[in-house]
């Protein structure tokens, strides 16, 4: 049975990661930025799984689970923060949330 080469997985992963970075840098809506972060995390997850399969080792799976746990925790905390920011500032534009400055 012909296998899918690992480079395909890696290219897909890199493409997803680049999309995540681009979204993080160029979008202003906090929710979108948040989703971009999730995208980057899952791109990395894809690489982990691909390598784990390639090397027939379980370490990559372990990392993937860790990343998913962290991502879930982050989603919970992050969404809570976003809600609070929106309540206080009535905006979701990331450039307007800069009260740390000065």
């Amino acid at each position: 049975m012909p296998q899918v080469p690992i480079s395909w997985f890696l290219m897909l992963s890199a493409a997803l990661f680049a999309l995540g970075v681009a979204g993080f840098l160029f979008r202003r809506n906090i929710i979108t930025v948040f989703m971009s972060i999730e995208l980057m995390l899952n791109a990395v997850n894809l690489s982990f799984i691909a390598f784990a399969y390639q090397h027939q080792q379980v370490d990559g799976h372990l990392f993937a689970f860790f990343v998913m746990v962290v991502a879930a925790a982050e989603a919970a905390v992050g969404l809570a923060i976003i809600l609070t920011v929106f309540k206080n500032r009535a905006t979701l534009n990331i450039d307007e949330v800069d009260s740390m400055k000065n």
Partner: protein, 613 residues
């Protein structure tokens, strides 16, 4: 033989009086201070008695003090014949002066402090003479300098006393610098600082090395023993209490330079040039200081310059290669000069602090015991046979004649000057009519008994303590040649000096002033001590102070050091101001930096060809 007890006893006295003396009664302070010095003296006697004839050195090693690479310095004490002589002088004369001080200091403030310092001085002086290596000696050397400073500035509420203390300390520093350099050279060349080891190897070293070491040691000795050109601190040191002048600045500490030179006799005998320098400095100092002594009116100043002059004689002795004669004069000088100072102290005490001889006179009948004892010292210092100074001074002059006749002749002239100024002081103080307004009273027995003991030593010390015979073997010296003619000449010079003083100050009192008026230029020069202090002031002190203000303070400190400190602060602020802009508070700019950093890392890793393992 428990040599350590000798210096440790006075140290214990210092500790006890220094810590609790404030709460002690005066008699308890006396008991501690005098008791420990007397015990030390007794222990010296017992030790020397137990050691027999001391034909070889008795060394005691206590512990290793410094061990670092090739440097191995032990805390070692040693007794040989030279040390034995010094021990007896220091503890003997020291005890006498301690007892005298009970009476002299009776009405002074800081009584316990005075005796604590005096005991501390004894500790350091005994360490100095007992040391078996250069470093332990240096400890004593610096320690006596410290005590000298503390005691000169004893009346610390008087500006001139603290100034004099500073002067003594600073001028001594120059000498100590020479001593330290000499020690470095000795260690570099001989890989040891022990006297025994160094002097065993010294004959094998090159003459140039030994001469350098000898000259550097001489600088140290010149500072401590107040020789030209570093003598200036000693006359000012008279600001201290009189027992201090007698003990430290006449009998013991200032002779440390002579002792050290004699101790290093092996080095000097193999470095003739250094010895020649010592002899020349010695005779120059002897003559120079004697001329200044001619015109001083402060009784202690006269004896101070006399001390400088007599120390010059000792240097002539050791410089002529007759080390034992230098030590001989050291011993007799300790007797008669201590007596002169203590007598002067008794006079000052009687006149309630008056030191100016122009306001004395006629005290012979009012304080007869002081007069009688001081007269013994005066004839001893003038070289009148058969008193102490005669033996030692003539031994030096004979050695000097053998070494270089011109030194002998200058020495004879100096002997005449010495007799003149000492008797001038005696006549001005004790003869004629009283010119002051106090009511002189004789001192108490506690002061007079030490004077009496010292008077006996001044009269008989030269005859009974034949130091050259005792030390001749130690220095491998050849037998001195007796020459009656030379002896006669020097004695005659002394007698002429006395006679001249008698004529000028007793039989025709106006003559001295008339003579001074005739040569007023010269008189003013001598009266003002050749303006040496002013010259030093102009040549060293002012440039140093001015330079420190103008260059070190205004330029180096203000612009250089302050500038550097403030500059670093301003630079940090500027850099911070620039870096602050990175912390914009804008998340996307942070993210840009992160991405930028990651990209740069990847690029760098690609260029380097993968992760560095």
């Amino acid at each position: 033989m428990q040599l350590w007890l000798i210096p440790l006893l006075p140290l214990a006295g210092f500790a006890i009086n220094g810590l609790w003396g404030r709460r002690f009664s005066k008699s308890l302070v006396n008991l501690v201070a005098i008791g420990c010095v007397l015990l030390s003296f007794a222990w010296v006697l017992k030790t020397l008695y137990g050691l027999g004839d001391l034909s070889s050195a008795h060394v005691e090693h206590y512990f290793t003090w410094i061990q670092s690479g090739a440097l191995n310095v032990g805390c070692d004490l040693a007794v040989d014949r030279l040390t034995a002589v010094m021990l007896l002088v220091v503890t003997g004369v020291g005890s006498i002066i301690h007892i005298y001080a009970i009476g002299y200091m009776a009405h002074e403030g800081g009584y316990y402090r005075f005796f604590a310092y005096l005991n501390l001085f004894m500790f350091f002086m005994l360490t100095l003479v007992l040391a078996a290596n250069f470093l332990v000696m240096f400890v004593g050397w610096e320690g006596v300098g410290l005590c000298s400073y503390l005691l000169i500035g004893f009346y610390f509420d008087k500006k001139f006393a603290t100034d004099a203390g500073n002067k003594a300390f600073i001028v001594n520093r120059i000498g100590d610098f020479g001593f330290s350099l000499a020690m470095f050279l000795i260690f570099v060349n001989f890989h040891s600082l022990d006297f025994a080891s160094v002097f065993q190897q010294a004959p094998g070293a090159s003459v140039a090395t030994l001469t350098t070491i000898g000259l550097l040691l001489m600088v140290g000795a010149c500072g401590k023993s107040a020789q030209l050109p570093l003598y200036v601190w000693l006359p000012d040191a008279m600001a201290g209490p009189t027992p201090v002048s007698a003990l430290i600045h006449a009998a013991t500490m200032v002779t440390a330079g002579v002792y050290m030179t004699a101790r290093c006799w092996v080095i000097y005998t193999h470095a003739p040039a250094a010895m020649h320098a010592i002899a020349i400095i010695g005779i120059a100092t002897a003559f120079f200081a004697a001329t200044i002594g001619l015109a001083q009116n402060d009784i202690k100043k006269v004896f101070a310059y006399s001390t400088v002059s007599q120390l010059g004689y000792m240097f002539v002795g050791v410089g002529s290669g007759a080390f034992s004669t230098g030590i001989y004069h050291l011993v007799t000088h300790a007797f008669f000069k201590a007596l002169l100072f203590l007598g002067a102290g008794s006079v000052i005490h009687a006149l309630a602090g008056e030191q100016d001889m122009s306001r004395m006179g006629g005290l012979r009948k009012k304080i007869p015991w002081t007069f009688a004892t001081m007269m013994c010292a005066a004839v001893a210092i003038s070289g009148v046979p058969p008193f102490a100074g005669f033996y030692s001074k003539d031994a030096i002059l004979l050695a000097a004649h053998e070494y270089a006749p011109w030194i002998y002749w200058l020495g004879v002239v100096t002997a005449g000057l010495t007799a003149f100024y000492v008797f001038r002081a005696m006549f001005l103080t004790f003869f004629g009519d009283y010119r002051g307004h106090e009511h002189p009273h004789e001192s108490s027995p506690v002061m007079l008994v030490p004077l009496g003991v010292l008077a006996l030593l001044s009269l008989g010390g030269g005859y009974f303590f034949r130091v050259p015979a005792f030390l001749g073997e130690f220095f491998h010296a050849k037998e001195a040649v007796e020459d009656p003619t030379l002896v006669f000449i020097s004695v005659a010079a002394g007698l002429i000096g006395i006679a001249l003083a008698w004529v000028m100050y007793v039989t025709r009192p106006g003559m001295a002033d008339a003579f001074a008026g005739n040569v007023s230029g010269l008189y003013k020069l001598v009266y003002n001590k050749y303006f040496v202090d002013e010259m030093y002031d102009a040549a060293v002190v002012r440039p140093l102070v001015g330079g420190s203000r103008a260059v070190l303070w205004k330029i180096v400190d203000s612009s250089g050091i302050d500038g550097a400190v403030n500059g670093i602060g301003a630079w940090a602020q500027g850099v911070g101001g620039v870096l602050r802009r990175i912390q914009s508070g804008n998340i996307r700019s942070y993210a840009t930096w992160v991405v930028f950093g990651s990209v740069m890392l990847i690029v760098a890793m690609s260029l380097a060809g993968g992760l560095i393992r």
